[in-house]
């Protein structure tokens, strides 16, 4: 019962302006859900809110995971509980290598479990990182580079997926992971996500375009418009949107048909 992420009536404002106007969504582990929608409908706001960005003010609702309302937790606590956000715009941390950063993140998890923990032994960590880099076909030189500093768009997105592989979340939110990627880079990133799919991982793919869903096939597709989920269907819904655009959804909403 607790193996799902449940979003109930989530309302969120930024600088006093309401962006999310009552979002309801249930994401079970083992499934891949897509959220599609035109620009500016609140998709990224949802992603940042789930991760706990301080700029987003929750005015109503709850998000339940493992029996807790995660909205009451700090961002690092949410992460350690098993939530992961692959950022649309990953932030550069100059002077901190990918390896150093990931080891710190792994150790933060271990220490949260056991305050006495001395941290993952370095050889063990190297082995772990090497295995994940091979799985995702990431160049070994990645580990020694400063995190996202001078990375190309494709490298940044691959670094996000590498982090996901190392941290092994139970719920992963991919925020516009396809944006700014050419088709080859997109395929590589999607292959990485597919390699991590399994019954212990629920994935929320947030995207503007259907393109990425050709590579990461969703179980459920939601359409978001004006701060609400207005349509839910199977993978064919995405294809339909690709072909017909969002206008028919908008008309449906405007005619007062509830989602």
């Amino acid at each position: 019962m607790s193996d799902e992420l449940i979003i109930r009536n989530l309302r969120v404002s930024i600088e006093g302006k309401e962006i999310l106007k009552g979002v309801n969504l249930t994401l079970p582990k083992g499934e891949v859900h897509a959220i599609m929608g035109p620009n500016g409908t609140g998709k990224s706001t949802l992603a940042y809110t789930l991760m706990g960005h301080p700029a987003y003010e929750v005015t109503d609702g709850e998000v339940i995971f493992k029996g807790q309302n995660i909205l009451e937790l700090e961002p690092d606590e949410r992460s350690r509980l098993g939530i992961f956000l692959a950022f649309q715009y990953p932030v550069a941390i100059p002077g901190v290598t990918v390896a150093n950063f990931l080891r710190t993140a792994v150790n933060a998890r271990r220490r949260a479990q056991n305050p006495e923990d001395k941290g993952i032994p370095i050889p063990e960590f190297r082995k772990l990182l090497k295995a994940k880099m091979e799985l995702l076909k990431v160049d070994p030189s990645f580990a020694g580079r400063y995190l996202n500093d001078g990375f190309s768009g494709g490298e940044k997105k691959r670094a996000e997926i590498l982090q996901m592989a190392v941290l092994q979340p139970e719920i992963a939110i991919l925020d516009e992971t396809d944006s700014g990627l050419d088709i080859d880079a997109l395929r590589i990133v999607a292959e990485g996500v597919n390699a991590l799919r399994g019954e212990n991982l629920g994935v929320l793919v947030i995207t503007h375009y259907q393109r990425i869903l050709n590579y990461i096939r969703p179980d459920v597709v939601h359409v978001m418009m004006d701060g609400r989920i207005v349509e839910t269907g199977d993978a064919d819904l995405a294809l339909h949107l690709e072909e017909h655009g969002y206008d028919w959804v908008r008309e449906k909403v405007d005619n007062g048909t509830p989602a």
């Binding site: 992460s79 941390i93 002077g95 901190v96 150093n100 710190t104 993140a105 933060a108 949260a112 400063y146």
Partner: protein
Amino acid sequence: MTKETPKIVTRARRRDEAAVKEFAFRQEMVRSAGMSEFIRNYRLQAWQTYQSLPMPTVKEEAWRRTDLRGLEADLFRLPQNEAYLDLAPLPEELMRPIADGEHGGQIILMPGGSQVNLSTELAQKGVVFTDLRTAEEKYPQILEKVLNKVVKPTEGKFAALAAALADTGVLLYIPRNVEIDQPLHSLLWGPGVHLAHISHIIVWLEEGARATYVHEYASPTEAGQTLHVGLVEVHVGAGANLRFVELQSWGENVWNFTHERSQVDADGNLDWIFGAMGGQLTKNFADLDLIGRGASGRMSGFYFTDGQQHLDYDSQQNHLAPNTTSDLLFKGALIDRSRVVWQGMIYVAPGAMKTDGYQANRNLVLSRDARADSIPGLEILADDVRCTHGATVGKIDPDQVFYLRARGIPKVEAERLIVEGFFDPIMQRIPFEGVRERFQEAITRKMEVYHG
């Protein structure tokens, strides 16, 4: 109900309090007995200069941001022989080797005494690495060759004071074409409330010589003020190569004044590193003089100030010959109410064509009440040169903190990681793992206090 407390108003003698105090040093303290005539004259002339110069005040440009009115100058005295026996002992961890391999020599300077070790192999090659007093006794001919050549006692009150009264220090002399692989290490341990440690470090590399030298200053935090006044003179001969690391981890109540200059002759190279951790107030003049064609020098500084610390660097990169290269990078983080001043100048003399000068100062200001002033400057009197400078004062970016927290790293650790990352490029310039570790430990300690 509040109890009424009598309010006592005293009219303080504000004018007295507001003045910078004079030191109580006297001419008898100039060590001249048994010295060669040259050294005696050098010291006595320095003493006269010292006496003729007033204590610097904020009215002088170079001291505009560093106020000496809090210095209890009149209370300082010089240590007696073997004074260290009654003072805080040198902690074990400072003796820990800072280099990965073996040291070629080590000197421990303590108030009123010193220990000197130099490998026989280096001594046989003619290398001199000894304390100042032994140098006066055994190597006056070397001192006569090098004294008064790099820093002139007339350059300032504290330079004159150090030249006149230095009773501790190091002479490192490396003969022509002698190359030393193992690093040399010296440590000045300066404990004692109201004690004045006055030091003179002289490094002289003859043509084609090569060495790595690490000098440290350290003291415990004690209940009253301690003074250090230092003179550092470095000569890198033609084609010689020196890596010189200076680290200070003074106690919290130390007032520290240093005049330093390195001159580099034709095709010589100097890699000069400054690390500052402690002290109440530091005023440091550090000049790089590129005196021969093709000389090059790099100055790297790192610091992390906290509490009420005040750190004031005044650097000069003087291109006095053609085809010379200089590169300065100072990086620091500030917390609490600490203050850092860096004022740097690249000077290119007439005729010093095809020089390349660079200077940058980057500060990370982590507390609202901390303050960093960066004042870069260029004075170019030659054609066909390339000089660039930059200064930045920044804060920790909240987006960086959020990103790291989104990976499960708690806020305090996320900030520490960002600060460490900020220092990483400068840490890469430090050749010793031991030094890097010590600085990293200090960052962690100061960040912990900062986060409460």
